[in-house]
């Protein structure tokens, strides 16, 4: 058969003719021809010509009866499922055919028929399907495959409408607890229950007791890889440990699964262990090592999986004051052959891992990347160095030196980026200007992009008393005020006014008035115009009425007040972290956004209260086996409080966990992500936790 003929658009009548032509002569060749015609239908459905193919419904039904070929049956069933959304009246006629297939005795046909029944949302089908599902699941002699198909059919039925769900749910629970049932069936029953709870508004939360959880973990060796992954996934949150020792016990039980080859099993096991760590009072050093090791070894998987793992590593590094992972930075050195998205993520991790003691190594790497072929990569590396400067106070000099060294490359995009970055550096360390001011100013003519221009203007204004030729430099920007983009116009306007208030001389006054004039008379943008008017009124009010309350000093205070200091915030909101950690391995973990923020219908996951739940997620400590010390836990707590204090003080935060190497300046929309959105509908335990943390500073 040539694919060309099958994969092209046909009219319904053409196919019909072909089907009937085959019917006339009853021998083998015509059967093959018929099959070919049916394949054309499927191909056309794939290509999206659904309405045309819908006309063939009666013909398909006719051939359903004639042919006893499994392939033909498959195509017919496929056709039926594809037509499900049309809800044509033909479905009534098709029902007996589907049922007769079910009763034909072959296991494969039974499964096929069952799936078709479940996939068609027509009432009679649903009713029929419910009956079959109940009988199949209750009968112990049915084959494993059929039972599994029935379980998934049950899931579909429950998701259609949950008025009748109770009976099905009851059966599922019974299967779950039936010790004589086959392992695969029980595992899948658990998964189906878990899914029901996730996706529908089932009244009752799925909660498993110690014995069931134990039992399910015992089953793991007998299950295939996908089933194992699902069991581990379903156990998370469903089982709530009541004591510390229970949690320890299950961590121990689950850890061997980290040695599976299937990534999905590992990540789900990982998730379960991380979940359980919320219920223990300490962790052993060897466990941390095992967890880290299993994550690192996943980095050798295909790029898509590697990407996922890297994102999850970020999550785990961000989430806690004392990360559960101890990994060597060298694993995250960028390889030449890595796809860009992996390079990017690795850069981010390196940035997060940077501390005083490994800084030299990391800076060396960043230097490599900054001169990389890829321009984006190089820019991001520079951004990261800039942010590191702000983050690590003690090593700021090294970082600044690296930035200055990179300036010597004199590549255009590197200069842009470095100039942009220096604005933040200088805001954080105003005294560092001695190191870099001279050198930076040399590049005044290079800066092209709005951001770097804005940054350069700010630097010139801020340090004008150190620059003898500041007016000349400033002129190079202000002379084509009208040609600049809005963002730069704003900074020129602000800077001109600031220059005047700081140093009121005839030249600065002339400059200032010039800019104010252009801004009020020649610019169309109302925001810019209004701001210029405000400045103008302020200045003239201050000059006219010497004796009034609005003196020059007050104006200076208003226009050129002290800027709030900036700091880096690499912490996520604990509540979001909690939710994300329960979503390890999901899309949410890639975007590092809570599930319900992006997709409202998903239920947010949260830890269920139990006597064993740790009130503070960093309260447990990592110990070597046998030796326990309490000092570390105390320091952990106090740092937590410090963090809190910072977030409520006017210190300006740069929430850079998202993309540290990009756009540090846009603070507003970033902030939304991490700002604790207070819902009162929170669980009492969570609320208590929040209050207990806030109280000392209220």
């Amino acid at each position: 058969m040539s694919d060309q003929r099958i994969f092209s658009r046909y009219k319904a009548s053409e196919i019909r003719a072909e089907l009937h032509q085959g019917n006339l002569k009853k021998h083998r060749a015509s059967a093959a021809k018929r099959k070919n015609a049916l394949k054309k239908i499927v191909a056309n459905l794939t290509m999206g010509f659904r309405s045309e193919m819908a006309l063939l419904f009666p013909d398909v039904l006719k051939f359903w009866q004639i042919d006893d070929n499994l392939e033909v049956k498959r195509i017919c069933h496929h056709y039926l499922v594809a037509m499900a959304s049309t809800k044509a009246e033909h479905f009534q006629n098709a029902l007996p055919l589907v049922l007769s297939d079910f009763n034909a005795g072959s296991e494969q046909l039974q499964i096929l028929a069952l799936r078709t029944l479940a996939a068609v949302p027509v009432e009679v089908y649903v009713e029929e399907c419910r009956k079959l599902v109940l009988t199949i699941i209750n009968k112990s002699s049915e084959s494993e495959k059929l039972k599994k198909a029935a379980l998934y059919a049950a899931l579909k039925l429950i998701q259609y409408e949950n008025t009748q769900a109770a009976s099905l749910l009851g059966v599922l629970h019974k299967v779950l607890r039936n010790y004589k049932e086959k392992p695969t069936i029980r595992a899948n029953a658990l998964y189906v229950l878990h899914e029901v709870q996730e996706t529908t508004n089932a009244l009752q939360m799925l909660s498993l007791d110690f014995d069931t959880c134990m039992d399910m973990l015992e089953l793991l060796p007998k299950l295939n890889e996908w089933d194992s992954a699902r069991v581990l996934d379903s156990l998370t949150v469903s089982y709530v440990p009541q004591t510390h020792s229970d949690a320890h016990f299950f961590i121990e039980k689950t850890v061997p699964q980290l040695q599976h080859t299937n990534t999905s099993v590992i990540l789900n096991a990982f998730k379960f262990v991380i979940y359980l760590t919320n219920y223990v009072e300490f962790l052993t050093e060897s466990l941390v090592k095992q967890l880290s090791g299993s994550m690192v070894s996943l980095l050798n998987k295909p790029p898509e999986l590697e990407f996922l793992v890297l994102r999850n590593i970020i999550l785990l590094l961000l989430g806690r004051d004392k990360p559960l992972l101890k990994v060597d930075i060298s694993y995250f050195f960028v390889e030449f052959n890595d796809p860009i998205y992996i390079k990017d993520t690795k850069l981010e991790i390196l940035y997060l891992l940077a501390k005083e003691d490994n800084l030299l190594q990391i800076l060396q790497e960043f230097k490599e990347y900054a001169t990389d072929i890829d321009i984006q990569m190089s820019r991001k590396a520079i951004r990261a160095v800039g942010n590191l400067t702000v983050k690590l106070e003690q090593s700021a000099d090294e970082c600044v030196n690296l930035l200055l060294e990179l300036l010597d490359f004199e590549a255009e995009y590197i200069v842009q980026e470095i100039v942009s970055v220096f604005k933040n550096v200088l805001r954080r360390y105003p005294e560092k200007h001695k190191l870099c001011l001279k050198k930076l100013v040399r590049f005044t003519d290079w800066v092209q992009e709005p951001e770097s221009r804005g940054s350069m203007i700010w630097i010139i204004t801020q340090y004008h008393h150190h620059l003898p030729n500041y007016l000349e430099l400033f002129r190079s920007f202000s002379d084509n005020f009208l040609d600049e983009v809005l963002e730069v116009q704003f900074s020129i306007l602000g800077s001109a006014v600031r220059l005047f208030t700081r140093n009121p001389t005839p030249t600065t006054e002339k400059l200032c008035v010039e800019i104010l004039k252009s801004a009020t008379e020649k610019v169309d943008n109302p925001d810019l115009r209004d701001r210029a008017f405000v400045y103008w009124r302020l200045l003239s009010a201050a000059q006219q009425s010497q004796n009034s309350s609005l003196g020059m000093d007050t104006v200076r205070e208003i226009i050129d007040g002290a800027l709030p200091p900036i700091a880096m915030n690499t912490q996520l909101d604990p509540q979001i972290v909690e939710e994300l950690e329960l979503n390890i391995g999901t899309i949410a973990s890639i975007y590092l956004k809570p599930v319900n923020q992006v997709f409202r219908l998903n239920k947010p996951k949260c830890l269920t209260a139990s006597p064993a739940l740790n009130a503070n997620r960093d309260s447990f400590e990592v110990v070597f086996k046998g030796s326990q010390s309490t000092s570390s836990s105390l320091t952990g707590d106090s740092s937590q409080f410090n963090n809190r204090r910072q977030s409520s003080s006017p210190v300006k935060k740069m929430d850079d966990y998202d993309i540290p190497a990009e756009t540090v300046n846009t603070l507003k929309d970033k902030r939304k992500n991490s700002s604790p959105n207070m819902h009162l509908s929170r669980k009492p335990s969570m609320l208590a936790r929040k209050l207990s943390l806030r109280k000392p500073f209220a």
Binding site: L220, N224, Q259, F333, F336
Partner: protein, 441 residues
């Protein structure tokens, strides 16, 4: 979990699709090509997940096709999706050899069957090829009514036979053999001055099993520190001076290995699937000396010529030999008229990669070879082109040798019913991994 699977061509147009759930409109796929284009605009390589309109597009690339799944929920388990897609490609390859646009179109009926068996309602099911072959045959066949059923009756209940989901019963071989391949790939990142920035050994043990019945295998490895592990924590305690480079020894096993048994007794026991599979892999981050070291001096006389001096040394045992050594040295893109002087191997200029390729068929341990090359550079250059830094890439294979020193002591085959004689075979090889690179100054 996932709502559907689409096979798309390299433009993102659908070749074949299978929908498992109805929560995604059929029109969603039409957005995919433009999403791809958009992402490509932003950066040259597209990330494997895209979002549009609340729908998550997750895909992998294979040959000239995209294999795509969509989901409307953020809590979809991506780990599962990606591992499944890779598995799917593997399985399809068994049926259609090369998985590409044409073979998919040619075999779409079988692929539909496979997709039906491998996933139910968007949840992965059986993915073991040998098991799938029971249900699906390449040719279509006439249905023999209730044949399966009668077989079911004859067969004793599965609990008794201890059947496992990855191995069908009743396999018979005339000669019972098991082949073990221990393959170690070395990944290394070396700075221009010879400092090893990162090194790791990725090992795997591949098995080809031609064994009858339901054999129970036991694998013994030399416990040279590596496999007595589990007490790695205590080892680190013993010599805290080594904390900078802790050896992370993690093993990953195929689903057939009894993990709890390994955890408790450190014995690797398993009932193998039939045919080829990867039994285990491991990773070691020992600090190792570069096996093939090459010291390269590149002198650029801008606007006239570039001179390259390179010395390569095989830092392995005298008895060992590295085969098929390939050293790829980058040169500027606009270089021309190469002149070479060399003693061993073959040297050639590969303009399409902008590099010089030095091939040495066999490189004995301890030997040192060198070459000198000179290439012309155009006298007129575009001054703005940023200097490109690409690393030197090295490829090699060293047979009969493992860097970590791992050795197979024994492979015991025990088939309780058939009690046959069996022959295990073992081979060792060390090769360069995907990333064995030396940075240029």
């Amino acid at each position: 979990m996932t709502s559907c699977i689409y096979f798309c061509d390299n433009k993102g147009k659908t070749i074949l699709s299978r929908r498992y759930r109805d929560d995604i409109p059929p029109s969603a796929i039409e957005k995919f090509p433009s999403l791809l284009l958009e992402a490509e605009h932003e950066s040259s390589i597209i990330p494997p997940c895209l979002t549009h309109n609340g729908i998550q597009y997750l895909f992998i690339q294979h040959n000239d096709i995209y294999i795509l799944t969509m989901s409307s929920s953020l809590s979809v388990n991506v780990a599962q999706v990606f591992s499944f897609l890779y598995k799917l490609v593997d399985v399809l390859a068994e049926y259609v050899k090369a998985v590409e646009e044409e073979s998919i179109r040619d075999n779409f009926v079988i692929i539909y069957e496979l997709l039906d068996e491998m996933m139910d309602y968007g949840v992965p099911q059986i993915t073991e090829t040998k098991m799938l072959k029971q249900y699906i045959t390449q040719k279509s066949f006439k249905l023999i009514k209730s044949a399966k059923k009668s077989k079911n009756v004859v067969r004793p209940p599965s609990e008794l036979t201890k059947s496992v989901s990855w191995r069908p019963e009743g396999i018979v071989y005339k000669k019972n053999e098991a082949f073990l391949d221990v393959v170690e790939s070395i990944n290394m990142l070396i700075s221009a001055n010879g400092q090893v920035l990162r090194s790791e050994i990725l090992g795997k043990v591949k098995v080809k099993s031609h064994l009858s019945g339901m054999p129970d295998l036991k694998l013994g490895l030399n416990d040279k520190g590596i496999f007595t592990s589990g007490d790695s924590g205590s080892k680190a305690e013993a010599n805290p001076s080594k904390k900078a480079n802790i050896e992370l020894e993690d093993l990953k096993f195929h689903q057939c290995v009894r993990l709890s048994k390994f955890e408790n007794e450190k014995i690797i026991t398993f009932i193998p699937p039939d045919g080829d599979f990867e039994l285990m892999n491991y990773r070691l981050s020992l600090p190792i000396k570069p096996l093939i070291w090459c010291d390269t001096k590149i002198q650029v006389h801008s606007q006239s010529r570039i001179e390259i001096h390179c010395r390569a040394k095989a830092q392995i045992k005298k008895k060992s030999t590295a085969n098929n050594v390939e050293i790829l040295i980058p040169v500027p893109e606009d270089a021309d008229s190469p002149k070479f002087r060399y003693s061993h191997g073959s040297l050639k200029y590969v303009p399409e990669k902008s590099a010089i390729l030095w091939r040495i068929k066999s490189f004995n341990g301890g030997k040192e070879y060198s070459f000198a090359a000179q290439l012309g550079l155009p006298s007129m250059t575009d001054a703005d082109v940023p200097r490109v830094k690409r690393p030197i890439q090295v490829k090699f294979q060293i047979p009969y040798f493992t860097t970590s020193g791992i050795q197979v002591r024994y492979l015991k085959v025990h088939e309780p019913k058939l009690q046959y004689q069996s022959y295990p075979w073992v081979r060792y090889i060390t090769e360069s991994g995907d990333d064995y690179t030396i940075r240029t100054a």
